[in-house]
């Protein structure tokens, strides 16, 4: 079974990341949202409507690329988009040109798709999602094949889409990318949901502060004398102390009273990559 007991909730305006290693069920999940794959149990609701009963009312408002972009090789990029816009219906001709312009393909819009580089194909795929001016944009690995500048443009585009009030679902295994643009994520592994929530919450860590001072030994002794602080340990030139994340100011004041002046004090945050690896390795055990 590609996906099992998956319960995802995405709210309007969110940039939602769908993370997971290869074969975790990301594309299958997206395919179910797009009615390309039918779930054996359960249902998909989009915009508050059950997809099975309101397929077109839902899909009409979604722009999506799934895995690698696929278009008719003998048609130009522009003709491909015009064709799909015509199939959708009620899409103005100008929307095609706007979408092409937005992804920076205007100069090559009249060239046959088969002559495009991988990066250009990816851009056309993103333009395809924008043509119907969707409320919900689904991007499955949108930066595949893009150079660093192109990757950055896509990142900015995603942020711009969110600012325009569109909801974005971004499936990727590039955790750094996801961390930079997503407000919420869900982590899948072997078709099962391991975690779901706000990125900020996930990266908040386990309630530790990192401290640095000229005399680490004196700092450690001082911290160990404070009853309401937890375990203190050294880590990469810092002292890590278990403490509520909102207690940084109190800790700083307390140490200053004892004549210890800190050169650095910050709550410890993990990266999405660390969080993801911890979670997926835990699930292996």
């Amino acid at each position: 079974m590609a996906v099992k007991s998956l319960d995802l909730e995405i709210h309007p305006g969110q940039v939602f990341g769908l993370l997971g290693p290869n074969g975790s069920g990301k594309t299958t999940t997206i395919s179910m949202v797009l009615d390309l794959v039918r779930p054996t149990a359960g249902s998909v609701q989009l915009f508050g409507l059950p997809l099975a009963q309101h397929r077109w009312a839902c899909l009409r408002r979604i722009g999506a690329i799934i895995e690698s972009p696929a278009f008719y090789p003998y048609l130009s990029g522009r003709d491909n988009l015009r064709l799909m816009a015509r199939a959708v219906g009620d899409v103005p001709e100008s929307a095609v040109d706007d979408a092409i312009d937005r992804v920076g393909l205007t100069e090559r819009a009249k060239s046959a798709y088969k002559t495009y580089s991988l990066g250009m194909k990816q851009r056309l795929g993103i333009a395809f999602t924008l043509v119907r001016q969707p409320d919900f944009v689904i991007l499955d690995e949108p930066t595949n094949g893009l150079d660093p500048a192109g990757t950055r443009e896509v990142r900015e585009l995603i942020i711009a889409l969110a600012r325009e009030g569109r909801t974005v679902l971004l499936a990727s295994h590039l955790l750094h990318e996801v961390q930079q643009v997503c407000s919420h994520v869900a982590i899948l592994k072997r078709g099962e949901l391991l975690a779901q929530g706000a990125v900020e919450e996930m990266l908040r860590g386990d309630g530790s502060l990192l401290l640095r001072a000229d005399d680490l030994a004196a700092l450690q002794r001082a911290l160990e004398q404070v009853e309401w602080l937890g375990a203190v340990e050294q880590s990469n030139g810092y002292l890590r102390v278990r403490a509520p994340v909102d207690s940084a100011a109190r800790v700083n004041a307390l140490l200053a009273e004892r004549g210890i002046f800190l050169s650095e004090l910050r709550p410890e945050e993990s990266t999405l990559e660390e969080y993801f690896l911890d979670l997926t390795e835990e699930s292996d055990e």
């Binding site: 395919s31 797009l34 009615d35 390309l36 794959v37 039918r38 397929r55 077109w56 899909l59 979604i62 999506a64 690329i65 799934i66 895995e67 690698s68 972009p69 696929a70 278009f71 008719y72 090789p73 003998y74 048609l75 003709d79 064709l83 799909m84 015509r86 199939a87 959708v88 219906g89 395809f128 119907r132």
Partner: protein, 301 residues
């Protein structure tokens, strides 16, 4: 739906394969008229001399050939020669339609298999299905567009065939079109659409196979397999003296022959209406199955 048919027609029209097939039709139906004209004129040249070779076995058992000069009243008059040549135009519609029938089946199978199979091989089916109201409408529009394109090809072939015949005959000063009256046009109209109807089962079976196999190759294999297998089976079974001789009544080829008025010696003529019903069962059966499979199956890539 009309929007989707337009989209599918656009895709077909812009494909290189469609353009090549159309070019082949144009070239074939222009040049095929030359041997037709040659065949039609040759017997007239021999006949007008009145010399007929006759073989006889003599009392010694040897075979001898005699040239018999026919009496003047039995010879074909110049007027009859002209009438025979005029038949070239009178039969040109039927002759061309008989060729169009086979070309339409062959090219139609190729085009149908490619149109459906390529959507799978290019991966375009997945994004395109997110652009359409329903899978049924999408497949319906695709098949309708294919049907329209193939009928347009048949019309083009007929127009070229008949047009070129008229030009050739006119070049010899014999472009007599006096036989064209309302009854002739009516017959031609129904003959054309009967032929088009006869092509349908092969195309729908091709589409079904391309969908099931998710490839153009499977579709083409099934289409040509039906065409060739049906001809072989019909040929073998019609010679049988058992119940097997009735099996071809339920195969498409024999029914298409009956529908378009082709008859063979030693083969009982079949009721065209019964033939039409059998062909409809093939066409609608394969169509319903295609829609069902396409609607039910997951689209993975």
């Amino acid at each position: 739906m009309s929007r989707l048919v337009f989209v599918e027609l656009f895709k077909l029209r812009r494909r290189l394969m469609t353009q090549i097939l159309a070019l082949l039709v144009v070239a074939f139906f222009i040049f095929v008229q030359v041997p037709r004209w040659h065949d039609q004129t040759r017997p007239s040249d021999e006949g007008s001399s009145g010399a007929v070779p006759v073989e006889e076995v003599g009392p010694d058992g040897e075979t001898r050939t005699f040239i018999v000069i026919q009496p003047e009243e039995a010879q074909r008059s110049p007027r009859e020669d002209a009438a025979l040549l005029d038949e070239f135009l009178e039969t040109t519609f039927d002759d061309n339609l008989a060729i169009v029938r086979w070309i339409a089946v062959l090219f139609g199978i190729v085009l149908t298999a490619a149109a459906l199979g390529s959507e799978y091989s290019w991966g375009t089916l997945r994004p395109f299905l997110t652009c359409v109201e329903s899978r049924t409408k999408y497949l319906g529009a695709k098949l309708a567009a294919l049907g329209m394109m193939i009928v347009a090809g048949m019309m083009l072939a007929m127009a070229l065939g008949v047009g070129t015949s008229v030009v050739i005959a006119a070049g010899d000063g014999r472009a007599e079109l006096g036989f064209v009256d309302a009854a002739y046009l009516e017959d031609a109209f129904f003959d054309f659409w009967r032929t088009a109807y006869g092509v349908t089962p092969y195309l729908v079976v091709t589409a079904l196979a391309a969908i099931i196999g998710r490839s153009a190759l499977t579709g083409a294999f099934a289409g040509f397999g039906l065409l060739i297998g049906d001809s072989i089976a019909t040929g073998v079974m019609q010679g049988s003296t058992t119940w097997l001789r009735y099996v071809p009544d339920y195969l498409p080829g024999h029914n298409v022959d009956a529908l378009v008025g082709v008859t063979f010696e030693d083969v009982a003529t079949r009721d065209p209406w019964a033939a039409a019903v059998v062909l409809a069962v093939y066409a609608f059966g394969a169509l319903a199955l295609s829609l069902w499979v396409f609607h039910r199956r997951d689209v993975q890539a």
